[in-house]
Amino acid sequence: MKTPTLTKGLSRRSFIARATGAVTLPMILNGLPLQAFDGPVLHDLYNVEAETDRVLVLVQLNGGNDGLNTVLPLKDYSTYQKLRTNIAIPERSGLKLTDEAALHPSMTGLQELWNEQKLGIIQGVSYPNPNLSHFRSTDIWMSASASNVNETTGWLGRYLNLEYPDYPAGFPNATMPDPIAIQMAAVVGLTLTGLEHQSMGIALQDPETFYRLVSGTDAPGSDLPSTKLAASNITYVREVQSKSMQFSAVIKAAADKAKNIETYPTGNRLADQLKIVARLIAGGLKTRVYVVQLGGFDTHAGQTDATEPTMGTHANLLQQVSAAMTTFQRDIEKLGVAERVIAMTFSEFGRRSFANESYGTDHGTSAPMFFLGNLAQDGITGTSPKLTGLKDGNLETQYDFRQIYASILEQWFGAKKSVVKQVLFDSFDTVKVIKGQTTSVDETPSASTQAFTLAAVAPNPVRSDATISYDLHTEGLVHMNLFDNLGLHVATLVSEYQSSGPHSIPVSASPLPSGSYVIELRMGNERAHKVMVVAR
């Protein structure tokens, strides 16, 4: 079975189970006889935690980032030069990535990460019938709607809402004790608006201030006025009050627990935000999505200095992006959480192929997106943008941004295709944005078992009956055992010689007490493990 377990075939319930497994892990480790587990079990358990805590950091570049001066089209440099005589970055100044592409000279940090195979670039991302208004196009990107549809919920809001259906009722809880998503701003954007128009995220600027101001808040009153509008407004404010209170302590605790190891650049708005994000991730928040933003990319005029095209407004902005994201990456590497984090940039549109006379560029269409992280698929996806034969100087679209969203949802969050279709209103072909499953349970060194793949337990958590599926790459003697969270043997599920190919076996959890269990599959010296949660 070639399909990596993590990226395909995970139901929403099993996805939640991953989080549940992570939550119950401290109980397993806390004062319990860990020695009951042998090495690989523990090892895999740690990996279970890692894979359940995948974090997406969305880096929004407001104003419409000029893609051609960000990733220079070396492939057709002479046309580029002609189109933008006044603002063209000299070919020799570009930071060369491939024969066809170079980064803007101010992005030295990202070039290093490129060399370390941690940076991926997807060329020509836009959508059919691009809209050139900042506000409308931003809404389109945030809502993932077709450009002629006004959608008032956000793509991540919808996705997270499917994962956490009743939010905000019943949250926080043991499964999700932390904010589901955090926007490092005063306001949460449309991206995180859920199916019921509730925000799936909270706005946060500074953990310490947040905690101080919230402590002492009372959330009094339960009665509502009889008029509908006022009642709904009061209900809304009470929800904000209660969310602030619920989360202020956990956020502060996480922020206090981890200290940044890298020194972040100062005077860099993006770095200020990412610095806190790194602490919160390393501090143990289970938050799945962070949104950070940097504005100023609407470079109609003075995009470059008149005399020095490698300097100017855009160069400063890209330098900030590069320095902030590079420092963040180094920081999370040192904090030991880099395997859990992917950062993705986007902007509402790119800019025209040609420059205007004010050393700037006007609103355009497609532009590159960046993926950064240890597990980001590195390299360039797509081709160097075509610069000739364009309509109104608008660059052609190679990928619909919803393809990229679909790819992230499937490959990073393990969302099922049917879920992705529900989130994005349609099916989209995916592109590779995440590297192979180097951290998944199934491909850890022992499991690296060329011999078999242990697929998901479904449903998980399980109430009564579940099915464990696995795929043998070779025939042989198979042992599958179930252990409880003390590491004690509960049941033997399989112990026989089996042929190669897919197998599945039913498990009845009815007699088992609620809690987390570990399923071990062993063939010869090779083992793999899965957590199964029994919940009633």
Partner: protein, 564 residues
């Protein structure tokens, strides 16, 4: 049914406070009571009476004048210190940076909002600064930004069409949306787009690529060409010959074109003299290209005539006003019964906004119980509204500490995401356009705690007020009648500060659990009477102050308080 028929229902503190909150930033007890006595009609007349034109702020460091007299340009002799001469320290000194002067403007503006007599004018000024949005930090010229604001204030009730014309040729706007680099052969579309999308006709649904129902991409490009050649007297393009003015040698090459708007010049050679073809959305109109200054002005006038002839323009502007002053929840009924008739009135009054707003504020619809509390307070409603509602701080503030005090208020506004003249983008503050949340966007897990911090701080000794609190709760309550009756007291505070009435149950809870800290509600009379009998007795004073502080702090933290 939503109706613009004049309101004739009850006229009590509750209705008067509602009107003052929405049409202004809210009133003190005295202002609310005065409005009750005067009646609805004269209250509206007085709210709509223009305030005297204020003198511009002086330099907070040395008291020098930095804003030129009306109609005067930025010249050495009148206002500008020679930037090359370090011995001069008066007037507009570019070495200080525009941020210094913009800070002065914000502080001065905050003071005006908090202290002018009850009027709609300052709230409208804030509205226009958000509608014809610029960001001071982008304009980077303290004089230009101040003068645009002064224009918006002076014309707050004014004709939207002439405002659009003036704003199009405003120096701050030319800088902000790159009109000053919009050039023949290389048009910069930025302003032409926002003029249509945000300032006048508004953008409808995109029915096919580049067609936004009300206008199209073709119209953006054509309008950009109409607007080529206009420049501010700025420092940006000093190399352009023929018309610009270099502040360093200070020699105007051309005299000002508009006596009342002197910072704008026109460079004929950079104006696109070709004909401009508009789309079917504007009836395939062609604006004929001209090659003179007067011709370019005529082109602009034809452009604005064309835009303002469309029904969509008046409707869009009324919609923006309605969202700002009434509610963002606009259904078909409101569109039909309120927005469309008001838009018709706007057009028939030649785009004067004042009469339209008077109709709105006098209407049954505005006073409809179902709409009370239908809007969350903006940061200005919150911060300025509280300063106006609790005037006990006013006598304590000395002139020497004013700047510090009002500048702190401006900082609070900024923290709560309403930095004056610094909206998040040219679309203005998100609360006035971002569906579906609109005004709810003011209140998040980040800003609600800041509001709590602000209201808590009202009760704490303030360094600018001689270590007295902004809100002296005892003095405030002393001015109310029947203050010894705790239930009546809470009811009155509710009338003044809240958009919706408390239930009896809440009133009782506030009296017993909050004010009396677990005691019975009638015991308050004993404390209050003891204080009135011996106001200088500190223990009698503290016996009422502590419960009152506790009550106010609690009231301001109630979710209900966030309703405007």
């Amino acid at each position: 049914m939503a109706s613009l028929v004049p309101y004739t229902g009850p006229w009590t503190r509750r209705e008067a406070a509602h009107l003052l909150r929405r049409a202004s930033f809210g009133g003190s007890v005295a202002e609310v009571d005065a409005a009750v006595a005067a009646g609805l009609s004269s209250t509206i007349t007085s709210l709509f009476t223009p305030l005297p034109t204020p003198a511009p702020p002086s330099n907070v460091e040395d008291g020098s004048k930095w804003v030129p007299d009306s109609g005067k340009v930025w010249t050495t002799t009148a206002v500008l210190a020679d930037p090359n001469d370090s011995s001069t320290s008066t007037a507009y000194d570019i070495r200080k940076g525009s941020g210094f002067y913009n800070g002065i403007t914000k502080t001065w503006w905050t003071k005006r909002m908090a202290t002018v007599p009850a009027s709609i004018q300052e709230k409208l000024t804030l509205f226009w600064s958000n509608h014809f949005a610029t960001e001071m930090s982008v304009v980077q010229n303290g004089i230009f930004s101040f003068e645009l604001l002064a224009y918006l204030r002076a014309n707050a009730f004014g004709n939207v069409k002439s405002m659009a014309r003036r704003v199009t040729l405003d120096a701050a706007m030319l800088r902000y949306l790159n009109g000053n680099v919009n050039t023949k052969g290389s048009p910069n579309e930025n302003y032409a787009r926002e003029l249509q999308e945000l300032f006048t006709i508004g953008k409808g649904p995109e029915v096919s690529q580049g067609d936004y129902t009300t206008y199209t991409e073709q119209d953006v490009r054509a309008a950009a060409r109409v607007l080529t050649g206009w420049r501010d007297f700025g420092v940006r393009d000093i190399t352009i010959t023929g018309g610009d003015r270099d502040y360093r040698d200070n020699q105007p090459k051309n005299p000002p074109i508009f006596p009342d708007n002197p910072n704008v010049v026109f460079i004929t050679s950079q104006h696109d003299t070709g004909d401009k073809q508009f789309s079917p959305r504007y009836g395939n109109r062609v604006i004929k290209g001209r090659n003179t200054l007067q011709g370019a002005i005529a082109e602009l006038d034809e452009l604005l005539d064309m835009i303002f002839e469309q029904d969509a323009t008046a409707e869009y502007i009324v919609l923006r006003l309605y969202r700002w002053f009434v509610c963002s929840d606009i259904n078909d009924e409101i569109r039909r019964d309120i927005i469309k008739p008001l838009a018709a009135q706007l057009r028939s009054n030649n785009y004067a906004v004042g009469p339209v707003l008077k109709t709105l504020f006098s209407s049954q619809h505005f006073f409809d119980e179902a709409l009370r509390g239908g809007q969350l307070r903006s940061p200005a409603d919150m911060v300025i509204g509280l300063m106006r509602a609790v005037p006990t701080w006013k006598p304590l503030l000395t002139a020497s500490l004013e700047v510090r005090f009002y500048s702190a208020l401006a900082t609070s506004l900024a923290g709560q995401q309403m930095d004056l003249n610094e909206p998040s983008s040219v679309a203005g503050w998100e609360a006035y356009y971002q569906s579906p949340d609109f005004d709810r966007m003011w209140l998040t897990t980040a800003t609600l705690p800041l509001r709590n911090g602000f209201t808590d701080a009202l009760l704490v000794n303030n360094n600018s007020l001689g270590r007295k609190p902004i809100l002296d709760t005892v003095a405030f309550v002393r001015d109310l009648s029947d203050a010894n009756d705790s239930l009546r007291l809470i009811e009155q505070l509710n009338e003044i500060f809240f958009a919706v009435p408390f239930t009896e149950q809440t009133t009782m809870m506030l009296a017993e659990e909050v004010l009396m800290n677990g005691g019975r509600y009638y015991e308050w009379a004993t404390l209050w009477n003891a204080y009135l009998a011996a106001p200088s007795n500190s223990s009698a004073f503290n016996a009422v102050r502590t419960p009152l502080d506790r009550l106010f702090k609690y009231l301001f933290r109630l979710a209900e308080f966030q309703l405007g």
